[in-house]
Symmetry: C2
Subunit: 226 residues, 2 copies
Amino acid sequence: MEELHNKNTNLVRDIIIGMSDGLTVPFALTAGLSGVLNTNHLIIVSGLAEITAGCISMGLGGYLAGQTEVDHYNTELKREYSEIDNIPLVELKEVEEIFIELGVSELLSKQVAIQVSKDKKHWAEFMMKLELKMEEPDKNRAAISASTIAVSYLAGGFIPLFPYIVSSNSKIGFIISCIVTIFALITFGYFKSKMTGQPLLKGTIKVALTGIIAAAAAFLLAKAVS
Amino acid sequence: MEELHNKNTNLVRDIIIGMSDGLTVPFALTAGLSGVLNTNHLIIVSGLAEITAGCISMGLGGYLAGQTEVDHYNTELKREYSEIDNIPLVELKEVEEIFIELGVSELLSKQVAIQVSKDKKHWAEFMMKLELKMEEPDKNRAAISASTIAVSYLAGGFIPLFPYIVSSNSKIGFIISCIVTIFALITFGYFKSKMTGQPLLKGTIKVALTGIIAAAAAFLLAKAVS
């Protein structure tokens, strides 16, 4: 049996993050406005403004989140080094306890802890991984993650919007947008479920329902306040 | 020195996720529309439709993501059990290599690996944590996470929107919305930086700039297509 596991997890996760919101929010916003406007012009302007805003907010947001993760890791790493310097016996006991919890005998845990603590760098990295459960983040990932989320949001957002661009009034735009977007949500839900190892039918329905519920809520609310 | 580290990390993270987009996207959308509309009514309808859609998409999205995480963990755990049953020697070697990488001698790593592998449950959990770097997700977290993100988005979104509700035209609404939201972005950026241990000035500027850039882009784009 080959060990494949979760390769490309980050890329897939970023596409899913961007596409989920990209398909859903512009779909719901334009659907909501189509209930109160007869012509498409303002629906298109709103849709484009929303896609731009969402794209920047999520993309730049993703970039900053990635940077923060790197900063956070470094802050905690510094703290571990200072704990190793200031309270080495407490930290050594923690290493022992981690091994005991992993099923290693007390005697052997003591020996292993002493070995781990011989190299300060190893020791600090060990505490990061096993006490704080933090992995060293990839410094280049922030930019890649940001671009992936932004492009996925953009791609997702144009699917519900373009029917309003090509149709003559908001009612026809709304109907085409619903058909196209629900089809896109089902397709996206299917691939998302496949990539994340979820049951296909359940996963697909979840994604499609999220979009439909958001659109229905936006539509009803827009009608109610108009 | 007390060990505080990242307590409440999940809650803070969810508030940040919801509030970041909640402050930014409705701000940018309403700002964009204020450039092409004179009256506030449609800006308010659009803003409410967007907040509803964003709230459901991010909240329900967060809930489903949490559920997926649980499913994904269980799938990988099952795979680890099957690998332990089918290729135990390969898996045992992997345990050894993990310890060697942690700074434990080869001899001791062999001993420790044999101890870890005595209990199948321990062994599988060890592989999850140290080979796949996956922590067992909390089953209740999905619902809490969803509600936190949704409420934070809602709270964030009303800040840029309410100036349009209380003002007589879109120009005044826009000016008040800018002042109030930029103030809110700075406050939010300050607390976010404090909670995540970032440099305060740098962190605050990052958050405020994201919102301002998104709003400026939406404003210019809406003007351009009108």
